[in-house]
Amino acid sequence: MQAAKAGLDAGADAIYVGLKGWSRGGARGELTPRELEQVLVLARQKGAAVQLALNTIPRGREIDYLLERLPELKRWGITGVILNDPGILAYIHRCFPELPLTASIGCGALNVDDVALLEEIGASCIVLPGTVHPAEIAEMRPYVKAQIEVMIHMVDEFHQLGKCWMPSYFRTNPSPMPEMPADGERLTGSIKRGGAGVCFKVCQHPWGLYLNGQKKEERMLPARQVSRAPEVGAYLDAGVDVIKLQGRSLPPELIFPMVRRFRMAIDQVREGRQVLEVPPFELPPSWVVVGR
């Protein structure tokens, strides 16, 4: 709740929120239905939109339960849903053709034909990682009518988002899925199936690197923070519709300055100014490698 408020107070036009059990952010960052209603009220007051993050991949009965819940959530005022699985996205689009659906970064879109296919199966918005450059997005723009959203503030982990199952190779921790009446199961350890916030961060353990059986050094797999506020203008010129900021798991005191920074950058671009006055924003190292 506090994180949602911080984002809205800082000038976000829209926020994604996780409902208990269904988002990649992990249980600690998810809302109860009551809290979701409160966020919707707050967003309405600010003139902002709220999309629901259903970006773990549910199974069998969990999908049925999700579909049963969606009409009610629509009535509450969610403006769309972000999804992690193209199959479920296509299915929900057939069931609720008017509901805006966003193909999450976990759908793995990186090129023009990825984006076009996701649009064809029902995505009204497709998220690309901030490692995709404005020139690449400009090449995509003529071929799709769907909105293009780019996450230009994110942690670029070693493995591409949506294409990593290292954590579950080492450990999984099945636990009952909150809010699920029957046998729903969150598979903590699996990024795709519940809990990126608790994916064990295997990539950020110190690993011994062995060449032909000899230890050469100890290191972590490379990760870096991508934060491209100075390039907001280039992305918007390339045809990006939505600037996305990776905020899940950040505390409210970090969300506010992050959103504020990009709000300023976007406003400067819209006013025809160069993006020069944006204050720097660096996550503390602990948030880059461990705390997310």
């Binding site: 991949i57 699985d85 090129n111 493995h159 199952w165 290292m166 190779y169 199936r193 690197l209």
Partner: protein
């Protein structure tokens, strides 16, 4: 006769590895390295080699498939189209796509080709498989994280032929960035030689194999004990993941599974000690079952013989 009952396949990156490998245990070969455009003489980049490789496989009596990059950007696509065009001219039996965009290109521009959906395409759900079937997918490798129970359910509800990994180092992800390039100077070794070295990431008894842009399970997934269950479950397409291995691995492990699958399809299945010995000889870190039994991917579940017991973490 057993040749028609099942297909055992593997992937090979370049002509050098193909020529050095005994293909006799295999029914089909995927050509190309899906991880990196700079992989030495990658079939996906060396199109004359691709032509020769397809013919080589044919002469060896194998079906031949082209695989494609797992995470292509816009600027990969022209080369992918060229490789698919060459493969089409040479009469390749199918093209494997790990990426939605490549599936779309195949459907729109090469409609006569069979499309295999690869493990990086992230097919986690029946619905995901059906979407890709509608785009022309004729065979699907489900995401490695799925349990055997889930895969069996997918096979039942989609009626799609599913290909499953039965042995080898399971892919655990893919990166844009090859961190091995950081060591060119220190190790006196350049790309593309770096990623072909014996490279492991280790922490205690944890281990992963590195191929630069790819990380593979340190332990070899081994489903030797469970082949009768796979056969009874209706599976017919089996993969040995040997892209990062040497020709001896491809030959020995291929022969073990060739014999084992023939037995399993005959209805009488008895694991031979010699099979375990060969598997043990090639499993540097040990064995696991991947995610097939709903557990963490590095665990081995089963009643393995003493020959390999010291390498295995037994939980049942």
């Amino acid at each position: 006769m057993t040749q028609e009952l099942f297909e055992l396949n593997m992937a090979i990156s370049n002509m050098k590895d193909l020529v050095a490998s005994d293909l006799s245990p295999y029914d089909a070969v995927y050509l190309g390295n899906l991880y990196c455009r700079d992989y030495e003489a990658n079939f996906l980049e060396k199109l004359d080699d691709l032509r020769a490789g397809i013919r080589h496989c044919r002469e060896a009596g194998c079906k031949v498939y082209l695989t494609t990059y797992a995470a292509p950007r816009n600027y990969f696509l022209p080369q992918i189209r060229k490789a698919i065009a060459v493969a089409t001219e040479e009469g390749v039996d199918a093209v494997e796509a790990h990426n939605l965009g490549v599936v779309r290109i195949l459907r729109n521009e090469f409609p006569a080709l069979s499309i295999h959906i690869g493990g990086f395409a992230n097919v986690y759900t029946d619905m995901g498989a059906l979407v890709l079937r509608d785009y022309g997918g004729t065979r699907v490798t489900p995401n490695y994280e799925l349990s055997l129970e889930e895969i069996e359910g997918m096979a039942h509800s989609t009626s799609l032929p599913l290909e499953i990994l039965v042995h080898g180092k399971m892919p655990l992800g893919i990166s844009d960035y090859c961190f091995l390039l950081e060591y060119e100077k220190a190790w006196g070794m350049q790309c593309p030689d770096l990623c072909q070295q014996d490279l492991f990431l280790r922490q205690g008894d944890w281990a992963m194999k590195s191929t630069g842009k790819g990380v593979l399970s340190g332990r070899d997934v081994c489903m030797l004990e469970y082949l009768p269950r796979l056969v009874a479950g209706g599976f017919r397409f089996f993969r040995i993941e040997a892209i990062s291995e040497d020709p001896a691995y491809r030959r020995d492990i291929g022969m073990v599974y060739r014999e084992a699958l023939e037995q399993a399809f005959s209805g009488v299945y008895e694991i031979r000690e010699a099979w375990w010995q060969k598997i043990q000889a090639h499993a540097k870190v040990g064995l696991c079952n991947g995610f097939y039994f709903g557990q963490s991917g590095q665990l081995y579940i089963g009643s393995q013989p003493p020959a390999v017991s010291h390498q295995l973490r037994v939980i049942s």
